[in-house]
């Protein structure tokens, strides 16, 4: 049976309930999503671009879906303070996939900027979103279609022309449920001409022993001259799975950074699709994964250089310990007329044990000869000479290896453009490698104590 059919049936059966708990703009796209979904077969494990992820197995657990939108009554922001030094953010929450009401009084946001519930903004100001919602992402991707079919809420960030949002925006995604739950998280980010903003997303899981699946789609539009940074920090649980599809469309002179950081997870499939559609657009796509036990991470990326003079820099690094599995498949496409393209792709990995595995597939597809492109991958172990040098100075094998793993991640951390986040990340990575659970208690964001009040 097609694993997607259960969701189509669910939608057909509860269409009224789904629609009435969402907004007309979101509902309008569902028909197209339904058509796309019923036309496609879920890619099998081993098929092109899905070599190491079994989507049907990820979807197999009988997760509950909160289409009736059981409401959250308490405002998490009322008791929440991010107590990481210097990390002052405008803070928002998605509990599972529902926007949690936030007291905006201490989120000083410039006039004209819209940060809020996707459902609410889509209902009140559909004209802001109509050109982009469900149009930046590719509906022929089954995970996008599935998200669009059932997403009822999420987050909108709209930055008007020329506006600079100084304070980083932070979205905390929290899984909280006593039964297995699937969340359809949806984000739409529109950075108008010459605007600037930074968004930090943190994924947390409250119930560590519960099964969760986050099916997330993020659409980003960076208009001419816009600068936008997205840091997507995953600190979920061993039993949390995540399938994320991120689409970014860039116009001329725009500058976008997307950084996917997985500190703790269960199983993660991250897909990144970037379309460089205007000249001099520049993209940094960075990521790291720290995987141990039997955790899994699989990254797919497609960066399309569609016009001349664009630059992209891609770097993904993993450290795989115990029985962890990692996969990276990255493709850079350079169109026939996209001359003077500069595109660099690198994937480097440390496989610590004999039982951990890494698969890497870097790809370049270039249709003109006036480009500077490179791609490379490396899978290796910690250098025994470095370990011995450190041991000869009195560091135990464990300490030496921990220092080396931290050092390995240094260039990804250095790519972070938010100084406070860079410091915090350095600390989180250190704690993660030295065996202290990076999750939650070490984070300092203290989301969990907040939740007790909900």
């Amino acid at each position: 049976m097609n694993a997607l059919k259960q969701y189509i049936d669910l939608y057909d059966e509860h269409r009224q309930l789904v629609d009435s708990n969402s907004a007309p703009l979101l509902n309008e796209r569902r028909a197209e999503a339904r058509d796309a979904l019923s036309a496609c077969v879920l890619p099998k494990k081993g098929s092109e671009n899905y070599e190491h992820t079994d989507l049907s197995a990820m979807l197999a657990t009988d997760y509950g879906i909160n289409i009736a939108r059981q409401p959250m009554s308490v405002n998490p922001a009322a008791s929440f303070r991010c107590d990481v030094p210097n990390m002052s953010t405008a803070l928002f929450f998605l509990i599972n996939d529902a926007w949690a009401r936030t007291d905006n009084s201490f989120n000083k946001i410039p006039e004209g900027v819209v940060i809020g519930s996707l459902r609410k903004v889509a209902a009140e100001r559909p004209e802001l979103l109509a050109d982009y919602y469900g149009k930046v992402a590719d509906m022929s991707n089954p995970m996008v279609a599935l998200n669009t079919l059932l997403a009822q809420d999420g987050m909108v960030v709209y930055i008007p022309k020329g506006t600079v949002v100084e304070k980083p925006i932070q979205l905390v995604n929290i899984f909280s449920s006593d039964c297995p739950l699937m969340a359809f998280r949806r984000l739409l980010i529109i950075a108008e001409e010459n605007s600037q903003a930074q968004l930090l997303i943190c994924d947390h899981t409250q119930n560590q022993e519960q099964d969760f699946l986050s099916l997330q789609t993020i659409e980003i539009v960076a208009k001419a001259g816009a600068h936008f940074d997205l840091y997507d920090l995953e600190e979920s649980s061993h039993r949390t799975k995540r399938i994320s599809t991120l689409y970014v469309r860039q116009e001329q002179d725009s500058n976008v950074l997307v950084d996917g950081i997985t500190l703790t997870n269960g199983q993660t499939r991250n897909e990144y699709y970037a379309s460089l559609d205007g000249r001099n657009a520049s993209l940094s796509l960075l990521g790291m994964g720290i995987e141990d036990d039997d955790r899994r991470i699989d990254t797919y990326s497609l960066i399309s250089h569609n016009v001349s003079d664009c630059t992209s820099n891609e770097l993904f690094k993993y450290v795989l310990d115990d029985n962890a599995r990692g996969a990276f498949c990255g493709r850079i496409y350079v169109a026939p007329y996209a001359t003077k393209t500069e595109a660099y792709q690198a994937n480097r990995n440390i496989v610590v044990t004999d039982t951990a595995k890494m698969h890497s597939k870097p790809q370049l597809e270039i249709y003109n000869d006036d480009v500077k492109c490179s791609h490379g991958t490396a899978i290796g172990q910690l250098d025994p000479q470095q370990v011995f040098y450190m041991r000869a100075r009195g560091l135990s094998e464990d300490v030496a290896k921990t220092l080396l793993k931290q050092a390995f991640m240094a260039d990804v951390i250095d790519g972070v453009r938010l100084p406070a986040l860079k410091d915090r990340l350095r600390m989180l990575v250190e704690k993660r490698f030295s065996g202290v659970d990076a999750n939650c208690t070490a984070c300092g964001a203290d989301c969990m104590s907040t939740l007790e009040h909900i």
Binding site: D383, P384, Q385, Q386, F388, Y389, M390, R391, A392, R393, G394, L395, S396, E397, V399, L403, L404, Q406, A407, F408, A410, D411
Partner: protein
């Protein structure tokens, strides 16, 4: 201090050391010389506990304890220091963090609290002066982008910080110009006392002009084939190794 008896060791199944005997007492300086491939570096690696080498026979006592039983880091805590022929670059790990970890691991081994930040900085400053090491190098990644001379000075700096009982300096003179050689040798002499000992592994007499050995050993084909006073180094400088090789090879036939 150090008693090496009939030491045999191999790497990747190839026997390199074929019965080394050596005794070092506090206050002594031993020079080990010998042609390329004779096993000099292997001896230093085996004594400092590199797991890539396997000891197949013999024993090594260090202050009455079985040195070969100890992992590399414990040998370091107990006072064995290896100055590397090729100091390893460790990008991303700063010299300061590295030394702090080294000091505090040693203190932990002896049941002491970690060193305070003030004491640590003071110690760094004091020891840097011994080898004239630039402060900037200390804040950089371990050995990364250091010149050959800076790497070797950095080795002696680490030796000064760790205050070992036995220092094994593996070709510390290679790749050094005459000024750097003087600084490095000066550092070694400053740190020398009647309580510690040094094994200097070198190809050339010139280092021994600065670091005066009490004994000179010639290592050939995995054995110490000749031991004498400092005059042996001068003789080697003049005559090369061929006469020794001929003598030994003739006896083997």
């Amino acid at each position: 201090m150090l008693k090496v008896k009939n030491l045999h060791a191999e790497i990747n199944g190839k026997e390199i050391l074929k019965g080394i005997n050596l005794e070092v007492r506090p206050g002594e300086v031993h020079a080990i010389m010998g042609p390329n491939g004779s096993g000099k570096s292997t001896l230093s690696m085996v004594l400092s506990g590199n797991p890539a080498y396997t000891v197949t026979d013999g024993e090594v006592e260090f202050y009455g304890k079985d040195l070969l039983e100890m992992p590399a880091e414990v040998r370091s805590h107990e006072g064995v220091f290896l100055g590397f022929q090729y100091p390893v670059e460790i990008p991303g790990v700063s010299m300061v963090n590295f030394m702090r970890a080294a000091i505090n691991e040693k203190r932990k081994y002896f049941g002491q609290e970690p060193m305070s930040a003030t004491d640590f900085l003071k110690l760094m400053r004091e020891k840097r002066a011994i080898v004239d090491l630039d402060n900037k190098l200390a804040s950089r990644s371990v050995n990364e982008g250091f010149s050959g001379g800076e790497k070797k000075r950095n080795e002696i700096f680490q030796m000064a910080v760790l205050e070992p009982k036995l220092s094994i300096l593996d070709e510390t003179d290679s790749g050094l110009d005459i000024d750097a050689l003087r600084i490095v040798a000066g550092g070694v002499n400053t740190l020398k006392s009647e309580n510690n000992a040094t094994i200097v592994i070198t190809h050339y007499q010139r280092l021994l002009d600065y670091i005066k050995p009490d004994f000179v050993h010639i290592l050939y084909k995995g054995r110490i084939v000749k031991t004498a006073g400092p005059e042996l180094a001068l003789e080697l400088e003049e005559k090369g190794y061929d006469w020794i090789k001929a003598e030994i090879d003739k006896n083997e036939l």
